[in-house]
Amino acid sequence: MSEPILQVKKLNKYFKTKRGLLHAVDGVSFDLEFGKTLGVVGESGCGKSTLGRTIIRLLEPTGGEIYFEGKDITKLKGKALINFRKNIQMVFQDPFSSLDPRMSVGQIIAEPINLHKLAKDKEDVERRTLELMDTVGLAQRWYGSYPHQLDGGRRQRIGIARALALKPKMIICDEPVSALDVSIQAQILNLLKELQETRNISYLFITHDLSVVYNFSDDIAVMYLGKLVEKAPAEELFRNPIHPYTKALLSAIPVPDINKKRQRIILEGEVFSPINLPDECRFRARCNLRFDMCAKHEPELKEVEPNHFVACWANN
């Protein structure tokens, strides 16, 4: 196995709030292989977006380490940080607010080229911009248009083109299709997949949509209240979910198929906010199998089958 492109070790990101310390990301560790996709799933407020933003250093980590191609990037500053960002880019969730409404499509895509002075002259900038528009399937006639004149799918293509401009090795996709209609969603997912095949880009793919992540990822990590509770290859996770939360999550997906009837597990209660957590399993309150240990300590992520990691006392 080759060296992973990204290694995250015991990463923490806490926020101070009025009611206490919010553990948005709490001791998350994982590796991402070259050219592969790791899907991170979880419900709103589980910290998956914070995780992505901390890795690309839009947020300062509270603790832990991030290695990119074997290099520690946790504490990079100034120029070094800006240079690091050429390698790792981000596609955002909201195709409305992630594009500056005052800039035209051309200007938005050209911005990274200009910032890093990748082009020789103005014509070169334009040529590269148009090339990028071609790559993401955006007709050249949109070059001078403004984001609000385009629909969600096209806007998301602009975001992807902007991320590609720096020829990154890795892209963090933060819910890139959740604001889009299904027919457009499929277009964007196919585009991302194509780019991975032709350019060998690695993805960290953050989403709440399990069917999307199943289709798109090689490995899937399930997050609950800031912690990874299960991680396994996609097929394995869907065939053999072990953590009770993963089981419930999978059974809750409505399946557009009337020929297969499934048993549904309905969880009690709601997702809590991860503020001032006691030392106990954070899923305990909603879990259907509570052991004594669950109330005493937080379970660690352990490999229970090859490549299949679970944090649950039931499997220890």
Binding site: R53, I56, L58, I82, N83, R85, K86, Q89, M90, F92, Q93, D94, S97, S98, L99, D100, P101, R102, S104, E111, P112, L115, H116, R141, W142, Y143, G144, S145, Y146, H148, Q149, L150, D151, G159, R162, A163, A165, L166
Partner: protein
């Protein structure tokens, strides 16, 4: 439901604002009237002679009613009220425009800095504003105007300074909401520096509320300016400032309504025109209020 318009390279934000503005009848009327006032103000300064036509005392012709010779009549010194109003236009316009330029420049700069950087800088700036803003603005303006002596410049400064906190607040709020947008994060992610982000993304996007505020404030600055002159703290007589002319008219309410009626009407029309423009600018920039 958003229509997908398919025109290539359209005009962008400012083009759309202009288009919206042009659709607004009131705003266009306001703009035309305001342009005429500006034109009149400039022409009057050049064409009317200050010594002979504006300030020359001519007691025999005092307090005349409207006539062909003096359409708005004459004041207690026999001076033609129409001429004085035309000549006085530039005082009010200068006070309104300069005062707002001062407060917009200072206020929004402070607000942008406070909003973007936050922390201690923000605390210092905003606490200072908190100290200035509870002082009733007319009283503060009176204070400042009298501190700098009775002159046009001190009046502008006075009217300008009292609105600085308002601009700082608007600018800060605007910047803070822009700062939360994902495109700021996106710019950071592609490696843009703070200065870059402020100049290219934050300022252009936080401008609309500041501009709306500025337009509206020109109107109120003209009123505050003429109020101060009315109280005897503004442009000194015999200069024909509209507020000052009204103050003189007070002594002749019984004998000459003209002296009170016309200068006030002039203030009102000017302010109305600017308010119409302000409404137009606001509606054109704020898609939320449309429909």
């Amino acid at each position: 439901m958003k229509g997908l318009r398919k025109e290539r390279g359209s005009s962008g934000f400012w083009g759309e604002v202009l288009k919206e503005f042009k659709k607004n009848k009131g705003a266009v009327t306001g703009f035309i009237v305001f342009s005429l006032i500006v034109l009149v103000a400039v022409l009057a300064v050049f064409l009317l002679d200050y010594k002979t036509q504006i300030t020359k005392i001519n007691i025999p012709e005092a307090l005349q009613p409207s006539s062909w010779k003096h359409p708005f009549g004459t004041d207690q010194f026999g001076r033609d009220i129409l001429n004085r109003i035309l000549y006085g236009a530039h005082y009010s316009l200068l006070i309104g425009l300069c005062a707002v330029t001062i407060s917009t420049a200072i206020g929004s700069m402070l607000g942008i800095i406070a909003g973007y950087f936050g922390g201690l800088v923000e605390t210092i700036i905003m606490r200072t504003m908190d100290v200035i803003s509870p002082i009733p603005s007319v009283l503060l303006a009176i204070c400042i105007a009298s501190a700098f002596g009775q002159s046009l410049i001190s009046l502008m400064l006075a009217v300008g300074i009292v609105t600085v906190p308002a601009f700082a607040r608007v600018a800060r709020a605007s910047v803070m909401s822009v700062r939360e947008e994902e495109y700021i994060e996106a710019a950071k992610a592609i490696g843009a520096s703070d200065i870059n982000i402020i100049v290219k993304h934050v300022i252009p996007n936080s401008l609309p509320p500041i501009l709306v505020q500025a337009t509206m404030r020109v109107a109120s600055a003209i009123i505050v300016g003429s109020s101060l002159s009315f109280l005897g703290l503004g442009v000194p007589a015999p200069k024909p400032e509209w507020g000052g002319m009204l103050a003189q008219g007070r002594s002749f309410l019984n004998t000459s309504t003209n002296m009170t009626l016309y200068p006030g009407l002039a203030i009102m029309i000017t302010v109305l025109a600017i308010n119409l423009i302000g409404d137009g600018v606001r509606d054109a920039m704020d898609p939320k209020l449309k429909r």
